[in-house]
């Protein structure tokens, strides 16, 4: 289920891939999640619509916690907590 948030969350690292297409959002997730500590939150900013399916699915596959997505009108902000 897609979790839409009513406001932005506080993140420990923010990655901006606005204007970039598949699979850059997934590659960035792979790279950036390694840069934060377990328990910390990653913010991924993208305007790529397919990310709405891809990001939660990526979290499922790689065992990370999908906290939700905030739509600011211009782009999506995905929040992911590193679990391992």
């Amino acid at each position: 289920m897609m979790k839409f948030l009513s406001e932005e969350l506080k993140a420990d690292l923010s990655v901006d891939v606005v204007h970039l297409m598949c699979p850059i959002h997934l590659l960035e997730l792979n790279e950036s999640i390694k840069k934060i500590e377990v328990g910390q939150v990653l913010e991924l900013i993208t305007d790529y619509d397919r990310a709405l399916e891809d990001v939660p699915r990526w979290c499922e596959i790689f065992g990370q916690e999908f906290l939700g997505v905030y739509d600011d009108g211009d782009s999506y902000k995905f929040y992911i907590r590193r679990l391992k």
Binding site: D16, V18, H19, L20, M21, P23, I24, L27, D74
Partner: protein, 401 residues
């Protein structure tokens, strides 16, 4: 007859170290850099090493370097990519009137797509008008593009001032550093620009490769969509030998530029002084001091420009009349026009661009040959021996006398 190549902004001769360093990547290390097996990794490492070298040359981070097919692509990418990515902020861009066609033409294309473009005028030395810039900037301005140095007249632009003004309205600044890189130390942090274009073949590297520096955090819309190469910002399997060559050329330049600059400047000064002493009615174009150290550009009166270039070439001296493209199209140089030179003078423009390999003997040969060529052409010219009468007419009508 020794060939004297002084057309180093058309292109430069590739350095031997660059050439040798590229060879293995044309055949031996042929793998796709994206392949995950060892052959691919080796090639990918070579690309990343080249990226580091280019980054070091301009004091940026490696992640801020995007390889392109050359300076033209880097300029196109910056103009359209930055304008499109910031459309929400506004639809106004500013470019100078003396930019290369790879900046002015994308600007005109953006104009057709609904952007408003302000063309920034220059003074008689080719320096951009900062007062005009200050008045033109507004909240809707998303991008200002001004070259670091002009290839035709060698004038160095006050980019730090451009950046200061642009930041007041939150506009991004791109600079085309293609002509500046081979002749001056470039530091993106000191300049404060958001984007900067480079071309390898102007600094002893191969053709077909260049780069766009893009400050971390600045959004850009890709110009070529494809795979994940260059972080998804520029798709397409990498020009591996070209990129390796650019990296080597960047290292060579970083390690030697400090020695090359005074060497070029001494020879250039000798050339300018010698030409002015030996030829009457010749004018140095561009700024007398704030110019690239290996650059001398003149307007020679009462000669037909293309004939001058051809006669010099017959004698083994290779120079150009301005930008290569302008010369081919037989059009009056937009740069010299913007500097307010009248067409009859512009057609007599000639440009000497030195390189790291230019020697004392080359300059001596030019100083011996160039005056002879001019004298011969003036004898042949329709003005004939009466060209001195033209001078009187010019004094009254030409704004530059």
């Amino acid at each position: 007859m020794r060939p004297v190549y002084l057309d180093n902004f058309a292109t430069t001769k590739m350095d031997e170290v660059v050439y040798q360093g590229m060879l293995p990547y044309l055949r031996e290390f042929f793998a796709n850099p994206l392949s995950s097996y060892d052959l691919g990794v080796k090639v990918r490492d070579a690309i990343e090493e080249a990226r580091q070298e280019v980054a070091r040359l301009i004091n940026s981070k490696p992640q801020e370097i995007i390889f392109t097919s050359g300076g033209t692509e880097a300029n196109n990418f910056a103009l359209s990519g930055l304008a499109q990515a910031n459309k929400k902020k506004g639809n106004h861009i500013i470019v100078s009137l003396v930019e290369h066609h790879s900046v002015t033409n994308p600007a005109r294309f953006l104009e057709r797509q609904g952007f408003e473009v302000t063309f920034l005028p220059v003074d008689r030395y080719g320096v951009v008008d900062l007062n005009f810039l200050a008045k033109s900037l507004r909240e809707e301005t998303v991008l200002v593009s001004v070259q670091l140095a002009n290839p035709e007249v060698g004038t160095i632009q006050p980019i730090e001032e451009v950046v200061k003004l642009a930041k007041k309205v939150g506009a991004l600044v791109h600079t085309d550093a293609v002509a500046a890189i081979p002749q001056m130390k470039v530091d993106v942090e000191a300049l404060g620009v958001d984007a900067l274009s480079l071309s390898a073949h102007l600094f002893y590297g191969p053709k077909g490769v260049g780069a766009l520096y893009l400050r971390k955090g600045v959004r850009i819309q890709p110009h070529i969509y494809g795979g994940i190469q260059e972080g998804g910002k520029r798709g397409g399997t990498e020009n591996v030998p070209g990129i390796v060559g650019m990296g080597l050329a960047a290292r060579l330049l970083r390690q030697n530029l400090e020695q090359w600059i005074p060497k070029m400047k001494t020879l250039r000064d000798k050339l300018v002084k010698g030409v002015q002493e030996r030829i009457a009615n010749v004018h140095l174009t561009g700024h007398p001091e704030k110019r690239l150290p290996g650059h001398a550009s003149f307007i020679v009166e009462f000669v037909e420009g293309e004939a001058m270039l051809l006669m010099l070439a017959f004698r083994g001296i290779y120079v150009s009349s301005g930008s290569t493209c302008t010369s081919k199209a037989l059009k009056a140089s937009p740069v010299l026009s913007a500097m307010n030179y009248p067409p009859h003078l512009i057609q007599g423009s000639v440009l000497f661009v030195l390189s790291k390999d230019t020697e004392e003997a080359d300059v001596a040969y030019v100083l011996q040959t160039f005056p002879e060529v001019v004298e011969r052409l003036r004898e042949l010219s329709p003005f004939g021996k009466g060209w001195k009468d033209m001078e009187k007419w010019q004094e009254e009508t030409c704004p530059h006398h």
